[in-house]
């Protein structure tokens, strides 16, 4: 198990380095020389040179990159060029709303997807199955922003639910109401893939020997499906749900931007369009590292659920 984890970490390292390199590059394309800003408008050339040396800006790029890695490890990501607050502080503010939105989406979309997938597998080949699978392919084809626009137009526009910003933490009444529409938007594109994975996985387990044994034993149809087949079918579903986190991340960036949800994704988009390079660097770094950590966790969970994986 430990070897398996170490192996996965090793594989992720080059990508992590690539992400950090992009973050470093972003700070290099800042159009103004940081030294001239620090020195102020009245500084002489010699003073600017001294500050450049002081900040380490005259060193070769690879050395600056290593220093950058050191700073990132200390969570020092620089300052936003617009608000002048530390980037790490900005990220700390936006991190929880993003996690909240993702959880609010998963909490209804995954159970619904599993239920629909189970129903489709049980009624394989019938109209119900076809309808659910048609819904699922529509779900993966619809642009997230269209779902959001329709909800804003019909539900938000009618004044039924708020659709701008986050009124507070999810456990407060106003906060809960403000997360409903974003969570429905993001979840709507997630139900389809989950339903489809559940259906495929369940169909495979339903034809397994132990399911036949359970039937022969006289267990009821419903009991066989839920207690015997579905439990085993869940192993790939859990992993695949985890691996779809990247898909969810993409959706959440769009959803946050549409609903003015104060999360990391919206901050990243805002920082890029307003050329706030340090903030963009921090946001992209957090999104990428967050994604990699979740991926690693899912991988380990998979190996724990299905020990055959770790050995292969």
């Amino acid at each position: 198990m430990a070897r398996h984890i170490a192996h996965r970490v090793m594989i992720s390292l080059p990508v992590l380095l690539g992400v950090l390199l992009i973050g470093f590059l972003l700070l290099q394309v800042v159009p103004t020389d940081p030294a001239t800003i620090v020195a102020g408008p009245t500084a002489t050339k010699a003073e600017i040179e001294a500050i450049r040396r002081d900040l380490g800006l005259d060193e070769p790029l690879w050395l600056q990159f290593i220093r950058y890695l050191g700073r990132v490890l200390q969570l020092d990501l620089g300052r936003s060029m617009i608000s002048n607050r530390p980037v790490s502080e900005e990220i700390a503010l936006t991190f929880w709303p993003t996690v909240e939105l993702m959880l609010a989406c998963l909490v209804w979309a995954v159970p619904l997807g599993i239920a629909l997938g189970t129903l489709a597998a049980r009624r394989r080949g019938t109209l119900v199955d076809r309808a659910i699978m048609a819904l699922s392919v529509m779900g993966v084809s619809v642009p997230v922003f269209w779902v959001g626009l329709l909800l804003i137009q019909h539900v938000g526009g009618a004044g039924l639910l708020p659709f701008q910003g986050r009124a507070g933490p999810i456990w407060t009444g106003a906060g809960f109401l403000s997360i409903v529409l974003p969570a429905i938007t993001l979840g709507a594109v997630f139900v389809g893939p989950v339903a489809r994975m559940t259906r495929t996985s369940l169909l495979e387990t339903l034809s397994a020997d132990y399911v036949r044994t359970a039937r022969a034993k006289g267990a009821s149809d419903w009991r066989v499906t839920v207690k015997h087949a579905l439990r085993n079918a869940m192993i790939p579903v859990v992993t695949l749900v985890g691996l779809q986190i990247g898909f969810l991340l993409g959706g959440s960036i769009v959803t946050e931007t549409m609903f003015a949800w104060p999360g990391v994704g919206r901050m990243a988009v805002g920082a890029i369009t307003s050329s706030d390079f340090p903030l963009a660097q921090g946001a992209i770094l957090v999104l990428a590292v967050g994604f990699m950590v979740v991926n690693l966790a899912v991988d380990v969970l998979y190996a724990y659920l299905d020990p055959r994986i770790a050995r292969s």
Partner: protein, 301 residues
């Protein structure tokens, strides 16, 4: 096939073999599914409309007419404006046709470039056994990486615009095509003619190009086509976020985003481009499903 074996077959045999080949061709099996056939037909119509947009679009997509501002579809106020007009009185139908041209065109170019690179990586991984593990491990990680993050990072480094968008879409297309190409190439590598080619003394380049690539390209091309749906969805999303095409460019994602401001008074301005994206991506996904069924007989039971 050598001339010696060919001469052993009669003309009739050869025709029969060709007929069987045609009947079992993957695309033919795909089109047996009515939904996939309808999707293919729809895509042909859409692509034709997009390519011919400059000739068949009823109006110029950038000419505004303030008197027709927010004219709803099929209204008497604006005869000839079948899908209505937007906030500047521009014809929606023409803008959608040009928008399809931009969205689809970008997708095709990006998938061709990224897929080409991916195919090269996949073929090399299958041919040079030593490169296989490192290359495919990298591809696996890239594959799991959310493609929208490539878009964000590239837009951040190169600035927003169509060029960065194209690069982002190309990068996103590389890993899945690389995997498919490797799979296809590995089965070709088992064939005896590869061994024969090497025995004759052909170099690596000739073997890869003449034997490997030529036998793999139909599979790779089919997957590249299906990848277009994903590329279009990603491109539209990035443009919607303001990281790709910028207004007033007629591009579906940025049109949808632009129309958001008038959602309550003129919903069609953003809804119609969204519907266009949805239908195109849906058609590609239906084709993809049919392909999976055609290639995996287990699912056909």
């Amino acid at each position: 096939m050598t001339d010696a074996t060919l001469s052993l077959q009669s003309e009739a045999d050869r025709r029969a073999i060709a007929a069987i080949r045609r009947k079992n061709a993957v695309w033919r099996r795909i089109l047996r599914d009515p939904a996939a056939a309808a999707a293919a037909l729809f895509l042909i119509v859409i692509f034709t409309a997009a390519v011919l947009a400059p000739w068949i679009a009823p109006f110029d997509p950038y000419t505004n007419n303030m008197r027709l501002r927010f004219c709803p579809p099929l209204a008497e106020r604006c005869p000839g404006y079948l899908l209505g007009a937007d906030n500047q009185g521009r014809d929606m139908l023409s803008r959608i046709m040009y928008g399809l041209q931009a969205t689809l065109g970008l997708g095709v170019i990006a998938v061709a470039a990224g897929g080409g690179l991916g195919a090269l990586i996949g073929l090399s991984a299958a041919y040079f056994k030593r490169l296989d593990t490192p290359l495919m491990r990298l591809i696996d990680v890239l594959l799991s990486f959310p493609s929208i993050l490539f878009g964000l990072a590239i837009a951040a480094v190169l600035g927003t615009g169509l060029f960065s968008l194209g690069i982002a879409l190309s990068v996103a297309a590389v890993p899945s095509i690389a995997r498919i190409a490797r799979g296809a190439a590995q089965s070709v590598m088992q064939q005896e003619y590869m061994e024969a080619g090497r025995a004759v003394g052909l170099g690596d380049g000739a073997l890869i190009w003449r034997y490997l690539a030529r036998n793999c390209w139909p599979t790779i091309l089919i997957y590249m086509t299906l990848q277009l749906g994903q590329a279009i969805l990603l491109g539209a999303s990035l443009s919607f976020l303001g990281l790709g095409a910028q207004p007033p460019t007629a591009e579906l994602g940025s049109m949808a985003s632009d129309g958001r401001k008038f959602l309550q008074i003129a919903p069609w301005v953003s809804t119609l481009p969204c519907a266009a994206i949805f239908l195109v991506v849906l058609a590609f996904n239906l084709l993809g499903d049919a392909l999976r069924d055609a290639l995996d007989p287990k699912l056909r039971q």
